[in-house]
């Protein structure tokens, strides 16, 4: 065996050793400089820890009672926003998702639908909420519109990708029977994407509820507004109660939706 004792090492990601080391050392230097520019002041960190402890103490004694009316009102408002936004968002996202699927939509429709999805996905919910609060004033209307808008981008994109991934043979067979375009969608495509569409809808319901708490802070109504007020008044015990309620509801919807999704498979 002439080949005995030969050495072997895995080839490196970057072949040029100079470049490899330059990148590694450069990255370390940049990280060090970045850390220094943050001006970490340990005295302030200590103070912050103190304040954090006050939070923790307050959270250990959540107060559901003194502001119970506001909390219930906020939760109901958030749930209403969530349901309305999810239902309308999905209803609008279905035609947009169909139009954004390259394999069934003509090019002009495809481009328009992709553009709508891109716009909706570019802006984070909070930014959209600020805009709609300016347009419609404070309150749940702005929040519902924000969430519906975000739902369109999310569902439209995922639905379109799912349609592009279908088994083309099944759709071809339906086309071969002389079916029209809506019949093709109903028979050849819908059965293939339905379980995922339902799963995604439930998932989006979760997300919308969580987001409704966040966008309330910028004035879009719901439990987020209640939470913001509680913080403004330094009522940490009430804030704790609100957060615990949000966590409980999020967990409940998540558990419920995962149960449903499993049954739909």
């Amino acid at each position: 065996m002439a080949a005995a004792g030969r050495r072997w090492r895995a080839p490196p990601l970057i072949a040029n050793p100079w470049l490899r080391w330059a990148i590694a050392i450069g990255a370390v230097i940049y990280l060090a400089l970045a850390l220094m520019s943050l001006e970490v002041k340990w005295s302030r960190v200590c103070e912050g820890l103190d304040r954090g402890w006050t939070f923790v103490v307050a959270f250990a004694q959540p107060n559901f009672i003194s502001r119970s009316e506001e909390i219930v009102e906020g939760i109901v408002e958030s749930l209403t926003m969530t349901v309305v936004a999810t239902v309308f968002g999905i209803l609008i996202s279905i035609p947009i998702g169909l139009g954004a699927a390259r394999n069934i939509a003509p090019v002009p429709v495809y481009l328009v639908c992709r553009a709508i999805i891109a716009v909706s996905r570019t802006f984070q919910e909070v930014i959209v909420a600020i805009l709609f609060v300016k347009m419609f004033g404070f309150g749940p209307l702005a929040g519902a519109v924000t969430l519906a808008f975000a739902t369109i981008g999310f569902m439209g994109k995922l639905l379109a990708e799912d349609i592009e991934d279908i088994d083309p043979a099944q759709a071809e067979a339906i086309r071969a029977t002389g079916a029209s375009w809506p019949q093709l969608v109903n028979y050849g495509i819908q059965p293939q994407v339905m379980p995922r569409l339902l799963g995604l809808s439930l998932y989006r319901f979760d997300i919308n509820f969580r987001e409704s708490a966040v966008i309330g802070i910028v004035g879009a109504g719901g439990i987020g507004a209640t939470l913001n007020t509680a913080f403004d008044r330094y009522e940490f015990d009430t804030a704790a109660a609100i957060l615990i309620t949000i966590i409980a509801i999020v967990m409940a919807t998540e558990y419920g939706s995962s149960l449903l999704r499993r049954r739909l498979q």
């Binding site: 099944q170 071809e172 067979a173 029977t177 002389g178 079916a179 029209s180 809506p182 019949q183 028979y187």
Partner: protein, 287 residues
Amino acid sequence: MLLIEGLTKQYKTGDRALRGVDLTVPQGQVAALIGPSGAGKSTLLRCVNRLVEPTAGKIALDGVEITGLGRRALRRARRQMGMIFQEYALVERLTVMENVLSGRLGYVGFWRSFFRRFPAPAIDEAFRLLDRVGLAEFVDKRADALSGGQRQRVGIARALIQDPAILLIDEPTASLDPKTSRQIMRLIRELCAERRLPAIINLHDVGLAISFAERIIGLRQGVIVFDGPPERLTPAVLTEIYGEEDWSALIRAASEDGEAEGAGETAAAAGQRQTGFQGSDARARLT
């Protein structure tokens, strides 16, 4: 009767799948299309119902020119052409009945099909066909719960409920075991004989083509290089279609088998006359 003249297909990639194919399939004839992978068999079949748009040439079914039809007219023409697919191409998450009834989509409006409210005659026919292919007790099963042979029977029923003037059949036995393949081929041939339907069947399996078809068309690189009855399919012809190989054993086995099949068919036909399809039904249920 199907008439094809000078059919040419060039894909956008530049591949010339068909180069001037001329072909006539008369009423009631079962023709097998054989040839190596990439010879253009699938393209030829899909040009007939324009799932693939031909580049040049003329196709006419019973006097109606398919090439050059507008969208609506093309859909009308498609419902007269039953297609049976490789790997069945059933909609997996729909029930057997929904899959069969999807063959009627060209005949009903959107809302009727959306609410699955098909006209009563269509539903009667669906039950009759499912009975005929031996799947009467699977009506409300989902298609993905069936075995390969059963799925292809659903595919056959879906094509037949269209009340087609021709069957286009693409590799019907591609993923079936040998025994099921023969049962499916036999079923197709019996159904074509009952309804005097012409059929073009793409086949990889030369043995099956010799046993079950009355006419064989050999395609190589988009050109027809052989067209004749199975008896004229000599080793020299197969070499021309597929390339050098020892073909004699295959031909001998297949033609003996074909004679047996022919005898079987006469017997089955006699049986049918007496018992009204029971003989073939019993056989169909074997899978």
